[in-house]
């Protein structure tokens, strides 16, 4: 059996207590459609040996269906100690939580890291209560903050013009690194060192480390952490082996114990670049051929992000000739000038075969409980405004 901990936003004490007991537990998101009953049924698909000294979290599989990922506590603690060392984090006195702890990145990179090094943990309700969040951030002293890039739009919307000099470390994961917004970040967090914390739930969660200033491109995720190996697998899939990674998972009704020698797909495509760093080419499915030319949607989003100061998303579609394509979705609604800048960026940086089928916008993107954009909802989203359409 696995113990179910229903997440209580802003209050991690149940998780604190559970970590001190040997019984394996699973943190169930406060928002979401996964039930305790479902988790228990999935757990039956794994060997009994995982019932002690482990923990389990939920993530989305490649089809969008929930996936149960199992970590070993001693591995996760070892990762937290390593992160503390390689990220030069001795100066950090407190970790401010703005993401739900059911999210692997938040669980390990904030809650567990704080616990392992005796750092004060300051829970908040994030942007559910922006005024309180602003107060907490303004009162921070030598604080660390883990964000997903999509939250920056929420800072702009809810806390315009506010600055937080007490934050000294700013970490990003869970989406494209906000390279184009570094100057603005420096204004809002004037004393923060900014890091790109790439990884995935199966890595529990970290794989690489990159300081913002070490590269100019958002898709550069930096070098693997000590002990972590990355490789370019079949078809360009980025795969890893890590002594800190998950030990088992249950996906689509199938339990699987992960072999320590096994190369595990990150779900992204990527390549090694000079100096030992790695560069993402996008999510699996983000790379495809249109009119015989390979397209990386991650590269296209990167180009557009340099021309539009909002969020840039894409979703796959087939054009009227049956050829694979995609649409570009901007948020918030751009001005005519913004749209012109986006189109000119596409012209300057990409051949016509890379252009979207449509450029659309919505005022607000749909979100998952962890703050990430609900990508599965983009295609059928209502209320989109059409700004430009491709005629081929």
């Amino acid at each position: 059996m696995v113990r179910i901990l229903e997440e209580t936003p802003g209050d991690p004490t149940a998780i604190d207590r559970a970590w001190e007991e040997p019984e394996t537990f699973c943190v169930l998101p406060a928002k979401g459609d996964v039930s305790a009953q479902w988790v228990r049924a999935q757990w039956e698909l794994l060997p009994e040996r995982f019932e002690r000294d482990h923990f389990a979290l939920l993530t989305s599989g490649s089809t969008g269906a929930p996936k149960l990922v199992v970590g070993e506590r001693c591995r996760a603690e070892a990762l937290a100690r390593l992160l503390h060392e390689v990220q030069d984090s001795e100066c950090v006195a407190e970790a401010i939580l703005t993401l739900p702890l059911s999210y692997c990145y938040s669980f390990v990179n904030q809650w567990l890291w704080a616990r392992v090094v005796g750092r004060r943990l300051v829970p908040t309700l994030g942007f559910t209560d922006p005024a309180r969040l602003a107060h907490t951030l303004e009162a921070a002293r030598d604080g660390m903050l883990c964000l997903v890039g999509a939250q920056l739009a929420l800072f702009e919307e809810h806390l315009p013009g506010r600055t937080f000099p007490g934050i000294v470390r700013l970490h990003f994961a869970g989406g494209p690194f906000p390279q184009a917004r570094l100057e603005r970040l420096a204004e809002r967090f004037p004393n923060a060192s900014v890091f790109n914390n790439y990884g995935c739930a199966e890595a529990m969660p970290r794989l690489t480390l990159r300081r913002a200033e070490e590269a100019d491109e958002p898709l550069d995720v930096g070098r693997p952490l000590p002990g972590v190996e990355l490789r370019r697998g079949e078809g360009g899939a980025l795969e890893f082996r890590s002594p800190f990674g998950a030990v088992a998972l249950v996906e689509e009704g199938r339990g699987r114990v992960l072999d320590p020698e096994e190369w595990i797909p990150t779900g992204d495509h990527g390549d090694a670049v000079q100096g030992g760093s790695w560069r993402l080419a996008g999510r699996k499915g983000d790379v495809f051929k249109r009119f015989g030319e390979k397209i990386s949607l991650a590269r296209i989003r990167e180009s557009v992000a340099g021309a539009f100061d909002g969020e840039v998303q894409t979703y796959r579609e087939v054009d009227r000739m049956g050829e694979e394509g995609f649409s570009l979705l901007l948020s918030p609604t751009p001005s005519d000038e913004d749209v012109r800048a986006v189109l000119l960026a596409l012209r300057r940086k990409h051949p016509r075969t890379h252009w979207p089928l449509r450029v659309e916008s919505v005022e607000r993107l749909p979100r998952l409980p962890n703050g990430k954009v609900a990508l599965g909802e983009l295609e059928t989203l209502e209320g989109k405004t059409l700004h430009w359409k491709n005629r081929i």
């Binding site: 000119l344 012209r347 016509r352 430009w388 005629r391 081929i392």
Partner: protein
Amino acid sequence: MTNHEKLRDLIIDTFLLEPSEYSLELRRENVDTWDSLGIVSMAVGVHETFGYHFTPDEATGIESVADIVRILESKGISFAEG
């Protein structure tokens, strides 16, 4: 909107031009995006906007915006207003 204005918007939209790049004298060789797929896209746009289908020979023989105007005028679509 006049036919000249419609055509200007279509050409800017099809080849992703800066408005300042557009003129009646604009030639294919001066537009990096006026490629084979661009020709198809422009032909679809002309049909949507003016209701005329270029023949394949007409479409590939177009060398400038002025050529488009000439062909459309020969089909009874007037640009005299602009």
